[in-house]
């Protein structure tokens, strides 16, 4: 039997940043809803685990048109955050899990073995969220797309989301006792044009750049939606086949764009 991991339990954001350092060898645990089963099943044997639960990283407040969400805010406690983030959050697992799973955990989640995870990445991408994190090179704030592309390895402190942008949101759920969202599309009209992003389309959520550039070129929603799957390798998992996702994605794009008016 291996030795249990060293536990880091910071009680302030500054302590959390110091304990995380450059992140080498540190596994971050928010609510534990993804990590704990991996520990239970022995799939993950971390040497050091940093718990964010008591680090003062939880809460939602807003100022100057931006909503500031602490990294350890539970997925079920996002009231006051911009839509469709709250609606999408309401479809993550069930109430017991939403009460402990955190927004930063969801942001950093890659797809599970049998179903997509990270349902909130697409709304955050479309809303133009900015992520403040610490790690190698110190603290930095970057847009969510850059953060996700770099593959994390950092400790998220907070997520800033502009409020008041018109949005559309359409999703496909698999009927079950849980909500499992197999595919969801968020469209947001920002100052720099319409951003469209989808979850359930791979290891993480993606911007649908083909749709965005078609819209920027004056295409109708229907014509733009034909570009939905461009550049994507749509996954086959326990919820749906890649083929089915490919058929449904343009439809969801049209629905989300339709809500933008």
């Amino acid at each position: 039997m291996t030795a249990p991991p060293e536990l880091l339990t910071p009680t302030s954001p500054a302590e959390a940043a110091a304990a995380f350092g450059d992140g080498a060898g540190v596994t971050v645990m928010g609510g534990g809803t993804i990590l704990l089963p991996q520990l239970t099943y022995g799939k993950l044997r971390p040497t050091r685990v940093l718990m964010t639960g008591r680090a003062g990283l939880s809460g939602v407040d807003s100022s100057n048109g931006v909503v500031h969400i602490g990294a350890a805010t539970p997925v079920g406690a996002l009231d006051g955050a911009p839509e469709p983030l709250v609606t999408a959050a309401g479809h993550v697992a069930d109430g017991e899990i939403r009460a402990v799973g955190t927004i930063a955990g969801n942001l950093c989640a890659t797809a599970g073995a049998s179903a997509p995870r990270g349902d909130l990445q697409a709304p955050l991408l479309a809303l133009g969220a900015r992520i403040t994190s610490v790690g190698a090179g110190g603290e930095k704030t970057e847009d969510v797309e850059t953060f996700l592309e770099s593959g994390s390895g950092r400790l998220v402190l907070s997520i800033d989301v502009p409020s008041g942008q018109p949005f559309g949101y359409a999703r496909l759920d698999r009927p079950h006792t849980h909500h499992y969202t197999m595919l969801a599309v968020t469209a947001v009209r920002g100052s720099d044009g319409v951003r469209v992003a989808a979850s359930g389309v791979g290891d993480r959520s993606r911007r649908l750049t083909g749709v965005e550039s078609a819209l920027a070129g004056g295409a109708s929603a229907a014509d733009a939606s034909a570009h939905a799957a461009e550049g994507l390798e749509l996954p086959t998992d326990a919820l749906a086949s890649g083929w089915y996702r490919e058929q449904m994605l343009p439809l969801l794009v049209q629905r989300a764009l339709g809500q933008l008016g």
Partner: protein, 164 residues
Amino acid sequence: MPINLTVNGVEEEIRSDALTPLLRVLREELHITSPKAGCEQGGCGACTVLVDGEPRRSCLTPLISVEGAEVTTLEGLSDGVNLAPIQRAFYDLYAAQCGFCSPGMMMASTALLNGTPNASREQIMEALEGHICRCTGYVKIIAAVESVANGTAAANAASNGGPR
């Protein structure tokens, strides 16, 4: 270093590692076996207990996160002689078949009814949405919880007899 928590009103000093799931602490260290090890990844709801009154998947709850908390399992609902109303309703209305999901169902229902005594059918279904039952088809489970919420549970008990 032991971690202290209260389980069904009894203060316990827990020796398990800090990241041990509460489920395993309850079952393997304290031998409290109503929380069931179903999927052990949050998908079935059979392990749900109350942590400071809130329903939590004990398989997803690291021991360290409940340090100092009050944990209630199904064993803590009854006084040892009389069944709690939710237990009586499950018995009277045949809401259990194999019984594996029943503890989680009853704990989630207890949390709901503690906060919302007259919960509607929709609220009951929402509270139980993450709880899987492979036998009953849910109809009798929801009917049992509803009978406690709308006050008809006592009448069912009177007509059925059964344990008190």
